[in-house]
């Protein structure tokens, strides 16, 4: 198929109208964004102060004072601005427009004459700019500012912010590269690469694309840049943790085209892979595409939690090695799953295959949604698959795992990242190729879609993810042949489809079924994805899940919580013949599908105080209730478990 015309839908052309997601997006709009604004302005009680706006005011010369926060503190504001811009693009009369304009003025006021923009270095270490790329996140911070400005430009058409970041990007382009007198470096935390591509797309300025390509191409090339800069500045360190000085940590161990193993800091990795996929597509770079495929397969076949999470260790927030997927000491950062969605979304443009939507769906419905509480104001940074609260408190290797969502973090990358992903969700539902509309996600919406031969309006309705019954109608003013492609999820083994009330037989091809719609004004498609409760097993190489099953229904992974099932969840066991049934449970969390079934529980009472005994444990029968993983931790705190013994 001709992929030249493949594109996403712009946010302005789609309105999400979905019972399930309206709730979450409403939380972002009504709770998270206002809450984060308060946080950026240090007005949230009992939470660590962000100092973010304060830093900008100092850097702009509006205030006296010292810089506070991380070296990358500016990105909290940038990600918030991007999320709010998405909101403005979706709902034109947003209350935030004026505030955002003022913030943009403030950001612009901190920009130096040469285009440099970063409050940490402006206030605190003006002489140390670009001297510690490994640790100091200047290019990362610039990248987030660029992404925010692109979003704002697309939302409002105003070029004010865009001009600021173009000046910043020009400065970076003047500073970095292989040319005489330029720094031959790249960022310790990838992000600028993605951002420059977005900037290229809205400005059509090829230098930005080339600069992104330079950062990708130069990475991992000998002589090793981070050693050179380290020696130059006399080996000073910013953070200094030894793992940060491993080449794997920021994927500089090899030139990117030679990489096959997903290693190091998981967010950095997937941000880079996403940029690589973008560049492979835009520059038709086969060797880059092959590296993307290898890295994708390594993650998906060997390093992906069933919840769509990645990152097996807290030390370096990193991947470890193939099949090492511990459930209780896991990192599984919310941002890493968001980055994985970015990667998958870009892989889709290299290869139209349903497997990418499968991963987007898995990460989105499980880890990303788990990242935010149902109050919109509390967040998980780490998304464990097994929690024993006492262990989180008392066993140091689990101290990064929180049994309760936190208000705001010292390093607050995740909350605004969730906000910007969910506010930009409209971009992930469809892609278009020629006259074919590919549906990747089943999220109710109305969209106006530009096809090769005309414009189509698509309406999607469902009670997804609780039900697999999906209704899609397509209309167009002009009469022309259109094709609709629907992803048949990897979890779905049976489906049926009706087109204008007529049953059709469709074969799944590369994860999709294709419906040719006749040249008519309106076509209605009823797709029924069979959504039984499934017991899922892990590859035998995953030692952590040996002898265990996970419960899944549709895209949702389920878990059991102490509040429903009592404590010591490890004492529960499903049997081979356990029948699991589901029901809509309005009493829990405003209405969710819960799953229940018969389980065996080791009887504590039958034990004495002994630690060990040759007497076989006695079991009693208990009905267990499982809830969607994404909703865990929203009631009484307690234990939680995804993988249950069988």
């Amino acid at each position: 198929m001709n992929k030249k015309h493949m594109h996403n839908i712009e946010l302005k052309d789609i309105r999400i109208k979905d019972k399930f997601f309206d709730q979450y997006i409403g939380l972002i709009e009504n709770e998270a964004i206002p809450y984060q604004w308060e946080a950026l302005n240090d007005k949230v009680k009992d939470a660590e102060p962000s100092c973010c706006i304060n830093n900008f005011n100092i850097a702009a010369g509006h205030k006296e004072g010292e810089f506070h926060g991380f070296v990358f503190q500016d990105t909290d504001l940038a990600k918030w601005l991007e999320a709010v811009s998405f909101l403005i693009e979706s709902k034109t009369n947003s209350q935030w427009s004026k505030i955002v304009e003022d913030v943009i003025k403030l950001v612009g006021a901190t920009q130096q004459d040469d285009g440099y923009l970063n409050t940490y270095f402006t206030i605190k270490e003006p002489e140390e700019k670009w001297t510690n790329l490994r640790e100091c996140h200047e290019l990362y911070t610039a990248g987030h500012m660029i992404e925010a400005a692109v979003a704002h430009y697309k939302a409002t058409g105003s070029e004010d912010f865009l001009q600021v970041v173009c000046k910043l990007a020009d400065h970076i382009d003047d500073t970095f590269g292989l040319g005489e007198g330029k720094i031959k470096g790249y960022g310790g935390h990838q992000e600028i690469e993605l951002a420059l591509i977005k900037l290229y797309k809205v400005t059509d300025e090829k230098r930005y694309l080339n600069l992104s390509k330079y950062f990708i191409d130069q990475r991992g090339v000998e002589p090793f840049y981070f050693d050179i800069e380290s020696e130059k500045r006399g080996f000073t360190k910013h953070f200094g943790a030894s793992y940060m000085y491993e080449r794997d940590y920021n994927q500089t161990h090899l030139p990117v085209r030679e990489q096959s193993d997903a290693v190091g800091h998981a967010v950095r990795a997937v941000y880079m892979y996403a940029a690589m996929a973008d560049l492979a597509n835009l520059t038709q770079d086969k060797s880059l595409e092959e590296a993307c495929n290898r890295l994708w397969n390594n993650i998906v076949h060997k390093k992906l939690y069933i919840t769509g999470a990645i990152g097996s260790t807290s030390i370096g927030e990193a991947f470890t090695f193939d099949y090492d997927l511990p459930n209780d000491t896991v990192y599984a950062e919310t941002c890493a799953s968001i980055g994985l969605i970015f990667f998958a979304n870009r892989m889709l443009k290299l290869e139209l295959h349903g497997k990418y939507g499968d991963v987007i769906e898995k990460a989105l419905y499980n880890t990303v949604l788990s990242g935010m509480g149902l109050d919109g104001k509390s967040f998980f940074y780490v998304n464990p698959l097994e929690v024993w609260p006492e262990a989180c408190e008392k066993n140091p290797i689990k101290k990064h795992v929180k049994p309760v969502r936190q208000k705001w973090f010292g390093c607050a990358c995740c909350p605004p990242n969730i906000a910007r992903l969910l506010m930009g969700l409209g971009e992930y539902i469809y892609t278009v190729n020629g006259n074919t509309i590919y549906t990747h996600l089943y999220i109710g919406d109305e969209a106006s879609i530009q096809l090769d031969e005309g414009t189509a309006t698509i309406m999607q309705k469902s009670n997804y993810p609780w039900s697999g019954d999906i209704r899609v109608s397509v209309t167009s003013e002009e009469a022309f042949d259109k094709q609709l492609a629907f992803r048949i999820p990897g979890w779905c083994y049976d489906f049926s489809i009706k087109v204008n009330d007529k049953n059709m037989n469709c074969k799944v091809k590369e994860g999709f079924i294709f419906v040719d719609t006749p040249i008519e004004k309106e076509t209605t498609i009823e797709l029924v994805l069979d959504m039984p409760v499934e017991k899922i097993y892990a590859n035998p190489q995953v030692r952590a899940n040996a002898g265990k099953v996970a419960i899944q229904r549709g895209p949702l992974v389920y878990c059991i919580e102490e509040v429903d099932n009592g404590d010591n969840l490890s004492s529960l066991r499903l049997s081979d013949d356990t029948q699991l049934s589901w029901k809509l449970d309005d009493d829990i969390l405003g209405g969710i599908v819960t799953i229940s079934g018969k389980a065996y529980k080791t009887d504590d009472e039958s034990w004495t105080e002994e630690l060990y005994s040759n007497k076989k444990k006695v079991e009693t029968i208990q009905t267990i209730k499982a809830v969607p993983y994404c909703t865990w931790g929203n009631r009484n705190p307690g234990e939680m478990l995804c993988w249950i013994r069988e």
Copy 2:
């Protein structure tokens, strides 16, 4: 019963003659002690240099140079001296006598006029003596020197070394205490408390007993001494790790009589509990005895690995909390199990109960023996119950777990600790009370035992731990009523006993059976402890072992290794009806009892590359072979597992 006369046997009065232990003791004598001597003198290739003897030479003024090693480096020599002294006591014509005399002269030459003795502070920080008790181990180091000197005195009768440490102890007594102008502190790492009691016992100098009592009584009392000294020296730190500044870490969170929970650094904890038990006994201190009982019960019922190991986390080498016994991220330091043996041995003097011997046996036959390779030159510091070598290398939370024994450690506490325990093993086999000889361990030996009414000679013979058939004969010159008590191990559910070829019926009372021997010259007892293969279950609260069984036969815990069973040991499962049988296997490791049985193995071949699937795993049948845990890691390196799925 009158416990006043209860005592251990002196090493000089017992000769171990045991097929099983002669091997290990021979390794200590012929390999470990010479090897450690080489190590102390920096003559071991490819191992981290100790610099220990070098430090003493510098401190004595025999050499110029700088101190190298840890602040407690002197203890490597002290523990070695203690082990060699035990060897000299057991075998009077030892080749080591002269070397030891020279070393003692060297140690004495480093002693300052006031009695102070510590090469680190003498060479490196002479002005900083006694200013950082929390971290700098001066009292701990002094304690080990005292223990070594007591052992040397008992072995040789020479007072040379004893005089050195008495001067040291006098200096400490002058320096510490509640009196005017004295330091009201105590050591960050307990050990001096135990040592002073030993010194009191050989010198009869009550000041040493009182000083030990002072250190125990003062610990955890407000105002908190470590904060006071910290402020005084301007908050400088030696190691500086934050966990070292938690009060739990060195059991200073509460006065010792109020402690109930075993917390913090495991070695420090059990060394302290051992001293507390000693003091409770010597001073008839009921509240101290009650604290010992609470702490004992907390460990044995809630914090003890089936291998007799303690310490669930590497961070702080510490206890975590009740029932938190992870198998793969465990610490389980060899020294901690040695300390637990010290504690159990002293509890025996408070209460003659078989449960203490049970724990001594468990720790000795499993963790302590596992700590040394069958070459006598390689050692485990950490004794995991589950090893996946790739994870040890690539998942940072397991980097402390080594799949292969190491030659020598930068912090080499374990190798000389194993040496001194095994060379002093003769002290743990019997205790005597009045005219009763209690047998706690089944280790072949000949001993001359002083009872109230005369001397008895006891001879023990067996093929323990491979067989439970034990033959004991007792003779005495004088005719008097003697009683023999034999521990019936907790793992033993059936036993028989013959006295002079006549079957007897005995009831187990507090873990022992009692045999009154008639007034005859020789009595022969044949005790048969039934030793079937047992499947052992863990308390349901131990989440790490839910659904799993361990294999045990007699005192030995078994494990499966990759070399016998292939990789991915987690894919193996025993079934309810798995019959396990044992046989003497001469082909492995010079002859051990191996255990085999039918298991089910998940068939990797039946899986595709997918990570997750709703297809149930296929199993194939495989015969597994298990070997004693203490022998693991002596063949080809690979995976190892104690707790197997059932």
